[in-house]
Symmetry: C2
Subunit: 621 residues, 2 copies
């Protein structure tokens, strides 16, 4: 669990190399130092998140930490950054996975986008079904990637360090000629791209509740393992890539080989081990995309519960998953993949911005947390913790500035525009709900009792049958002031109906019984529709009464047993109901009296309700 | 009006020639005799329909004539035949129009299907909008086609008859070599294909009511003009095509030229006149497709009113058009065009079957009509009329048998399968509605009055606000037996709600007022949901009462002002309502009490209702 953060090892170094390729083989020499800085940055994050886990044993995602320590707006800034980051994590994870796939099976090269969208669709469906992920399905590819790739890199690194010069089994393609000199600017851009390797680190602090007790110890352990494995992979890749002269290639060109594919082929040839390694990389990248599918809806649920996202985001669906969040993520990510053609390289510049903004917000939030604590306690450890998180905030903040600057024209500007827009949208949604609550909650604290006057009742009928009879029975039971309306010419001016028959039926069925029982006779009216609608005539009858006299419109409703029966009925009463409910001039309510063509029993209704997988909502212990 | 039947002149001869091409230039000699037989058949139809118009001055479509004279099943046979025929008329008309278009602008050759579907979409939208067709838009292309094409053919025929040998201005492509001998079988197949030229003749008898008074005279006149113009065009095409050696080409191959395009180019070159003529042919073919868009929904409306098609087919939409029928036609025709790639030649074998089955049913119906009349009157004219329609029925019946036999393997089998299936579907739909009426109309003729016991009332609430207060006011007004339910844990097991606050609110807002007024206190219950649904707890409370005691569930409903606000609310009450209405164990009704975020006034509702084009439904005098 959480180990899928190491998937980013497969695109981070490649992203750096794809910038350095401009400087030719000189660029390759710069990879080592850049990776060293990134590993140092990773160590800072390790310290910082270690403390976050200790301080927030519940759920210490950036959103919660920023909101609780820096206020709700800062929380929304972190939430927006994370939302953008999650979308990009899915897109980059899938496209890098497809990159690995087409390295292994070059014939798929021309179907990159299709492959990306298919993987996205599969991940979406799996998450919508909410099948409980089996530990095995997760651990096998992760451990196999660590063992295969890690083992190969260890062996390669050892050989390189021992002999100094190692011949690759399958030599990587020649490094293209340099098109520009190795400048500081180029190194900064490569560093900014390489930072995407760290984007998976936050996941552990988001999901502390998902660990077994003692939670913190397991969470700390996982964080350490991720950071160590990731650091080791990044270091190993940097050393072996340099030794073998592996350079990034263009994913959109035929013959593309990802950096890892070139490395693995150079280390062990294109045999069984090669395919197992590449397969496990693909699986880990898909799992890393899947992590966003777990975290994004969960965070949206929290934001929606705080009133800053539409409420449907907060509602668990039948399968106990937040379907709205999942679908939103899938659609945004599908759009992103389509626009960028599923090419990892084009997505990378957008990516790191959101992650590092979230890192910074989280670290700053933790720093504020310790600062406040220190003003109460004044202990040395708190000062040390403040220093660690403060330094973390500064470093990640500095990295954020470098990333935005270096990548601005290559695509980071999109993120720089989208994140503030998202923040504004979240704030606007919050204002909407507050305005709504003002309208619904303010005002008369004392409940105004209704008058004892029986309401006026209207029953629009189309012909005299059992449905109508049932509705009329309800109407008469509720009030003595009942008006039955029949609207003619609904089929247009040439629709000649037998109004006489309706009058005779009325007298025969209703009139006689009412007279026999000496009950007040309902008013029966036949009205002409002008525009083939029953709405206007019904509203005119409603308008006749006193403005404050409550009116109930009783609608006979035919309820079909099966879906195809819906095609057979016109359901004017449904449109009428919708229109009446929107009508604000009078106190008006609508009583639907159903007539079931095939009714359901309680047993059947409960059967429909019970989810086939009765798993608890969030706990995943 | 109605003159668009002549559009079939453009694909009938071509269809015959596309069969005859197999016999090479020998086939061309057979065109004359085949067209002569077809013109003779056309004359028979003229006599027959003349009488139909006299006998049915209302609407003498095949469906009405067959149903009234041969019984409802025969009526449905005719209806099915016509439905299939209308769909095919649209498909063939559009694809032949596109054929003319690509003859004039060969660069469009590779986009046949796209062009077909675009024209279909335009015709569908125009008909859904129900704009009143201006006479000018109809008559200009029709008359221009008659004048240009008719004039050219007249001039060409005259020259050919005078000099015997005329050189074409632009010679048509060479006739391909014969692949088989000119056999009777080939001639029969060519005749069957050529019969599609007559499919437009019925239109006049379908729409007699659309003529000015004296209707019959105008209808007779129009019928004669159509038959004469069509006969003349067919004859002229046969003569000139023979003289110039024009043969049909394959529409799916590049360089395709329709027969008429070759003829017109041979007669006047590819100058302005050529483009005007081809343009008018395209327009007339689109108008002929449009005729089906007027007639198909109108016939479906009649069949639906008789209970053999789903009722939505009988309901005029906002723009006074039968939208369901239009959409059904558009979708079927789009599917047909897609399956057959928009190639006229592939659609032709399916086409004539429906038309000739409808002809035969109509003639047989008329014969039965005169037979019955004769048994009462015994006049000579009735006998003559019986003979004319009887002969008509025999001849069209014979043609139908020839068409089905000759075209069976080429595609007519599809029609032969589809028409009986349609008949079965129409019969099944009729049975469904009769069973429904049995259920709804039979039984207690005397209206059972409701007991005087007030109903039990249930109000599911989520929190205490104005929406809930309004709903509760209605509940208390209707009965003293009110239960308010609050279901907790809707967000899953970790959704901790403040039930104490709800209880306090309840006492503060409702309890005090009720006690002050000494009104019976509603029952207030907080229940736990097991599967995050309010349906099951609500049903359990309903099940507590006596089984025959009517229950009304009062649902507070928030009504949004604008469409986007819908995204912001979960509307559990809508799902609850749908489930309650399907619940059959108890007498149960659902009262929706709306709270409008932006209410509509009567004026606004009427504004929405009034159609911008206040035209009468069917009369088009």
């Amino acid at each position: 669990m959480g180990l899928d953060g190491i998937g980013s090892a497969s695109y981070g170094p490649e992203a750096a190399l794809s910038i350095l390729v401009a400087a030719g083989s000189a660029g390759l020499h710069a990879l080592g130092p850049i990776m060293a800085v990134i590993i140092a940055l990773l160590a800072t994050l390790w310290f910082s998140y270690w403390q976050t886990i200790s301080a927030y044993p519940g759920n210490g995602g950036s959103y919660i930490v920023a909101r609780e320590n820096l206020g709700p707006v800062a929380g929304l800034v972190a939430a927006s950054a994370l939302m953008v980051d999650y979308v990009l994590n899915v897109a980059v994870g899938i496209s890098a996975g497809v990159g690995a796939l087409i390295s292994a099976i070059p014939v798929l090269q021309s179907h990159i986008l299709l492959l990306c969208l298919s993987i996205l669709a599969i991940i979406t469906l799996v998450n919508l079904r909410g099948t409980r992920e089996s530990g095995l399905a997760w651990s096998v590819p992760t451990y196999s990637m660590i063992v295969c790739l890690g083992g190969l890199l260890l062996w390669g690194t050892a050989k390189i360090l021992a002999s100094g010069d190692v011949q690759p089994l399958i030599p990587p393609p020649a490094i293209p000629k340099a098109t520009e000199a190795l400048s500081w600017w180029l190194i900064l851009r490569a560093f900014a791209s390489g930072c995407t390797a760290m984007t998976g680190v936050e996941a552990v602090s988001n999901g502390v509740t998902a660990f077994r007790e003692p939670r913190q110890r397991y969470a700390h352990g996982t964080l350490s393992v991720i950071v160590l494995v990731l650091g080791f992979l990044l270091g190993g890749i940097a050393i072996t890539a340099h030794a073998f002269g592996v350079m990034a290639m263009d994913q959109s060109q035929p013959g593309y080989q990802s950096v890892l594919s070139q490395l693995v082929a150079a280390l062990c040839g294109r045999g069984g081990l090669y395919y197992v390694t590449i397969g496990s990389i693909l699986a880990v990248l898909c799992l890393s995309a899947n992590t966003s599918f777990v975290d994004f809806p969960r965070m949206c649920h929290l934001v929606a519960r705080d009133g800053n996202l539409p409420r449907p985001f907060a509602v668990p669906g039948r399968r106990l998953v937040y379907s709205v969040g999942i679908l939103f993520l899938a659609v945004s990510c599908g759009a992103l993949l389509t626009v960028f053609g599923g090419i990892t390289d084009r997505l990378i510049p957008l990516f790191a911005v959101g992650a590092f903004l979230a890192f910074t917000m989280s670290q700053a939030g933790m720093a504020a947390h310790w600062w406040r604590k220190r003003s109460k306690e004044r202990s040395g450890t708190t000062l040390a913790k403040l220093l660690i998180n403060g330094t973390g905030a500064c470093i990640t903040g500095a990295a954020l500035i470098i990333i935005v600057t270096a990548k601005f024209t290559e695509g980071a500007w999109i993120t720089v525009i989208v994140i503030p827009l998202t923040i504004l949208a979240l704030l606007a949604i919050g204002r909407y709900y507050r305005a709504l609550d003002n309208q619904l909650l303010s005002g008369d604290p004392v409940f105004a009792l209704p008058s004892q006057v029986a309401p006026r009742i209207l029953v629009p009928i189309q012909r005299w049958d059992r449905v109508t009879a049932k509705a009329l029975r309800y109407a008469i039971a509720l009030s003595d002031d009942v008006t039955v309306i029949h609207v003619t010419r609904l089929g247009g001016p040439d629709d000649h109906e037998d109004n006489e028959k309706l009058r005779r039926d009325w007298d025969r069925f209703v009139g006689r019984s009412m007279r026999a029982e000496r009950r007040p006779m309902p008013d029966f009216r036949i009205m002409r529709s002008e525009y083939r609608s029953i709405v206007a005539p019904t509203l005119r009858v409603i308008e006749e009464g006193r403005p404050d006299h409550p009116v109930i419109v009783v609608l006979p409703e035919l309820i079909e047993g099966s879906w195809w029966e819906r095609l057979f009925h016109v359901h004017r009463e449904r449109r009428l109901r919708a229109r009446l409910l929107r009508y604000g001039d009078r106190p008006l309510a609508v009583l639907g009296v159903p007539w079931q063509l095939r009714a359901q029993t309680l047993q059947e209704q409960l059967m429909e309700e019970e989810p086939p997988l009765a798993v608890p909502t969030t706990a995943e212990e």
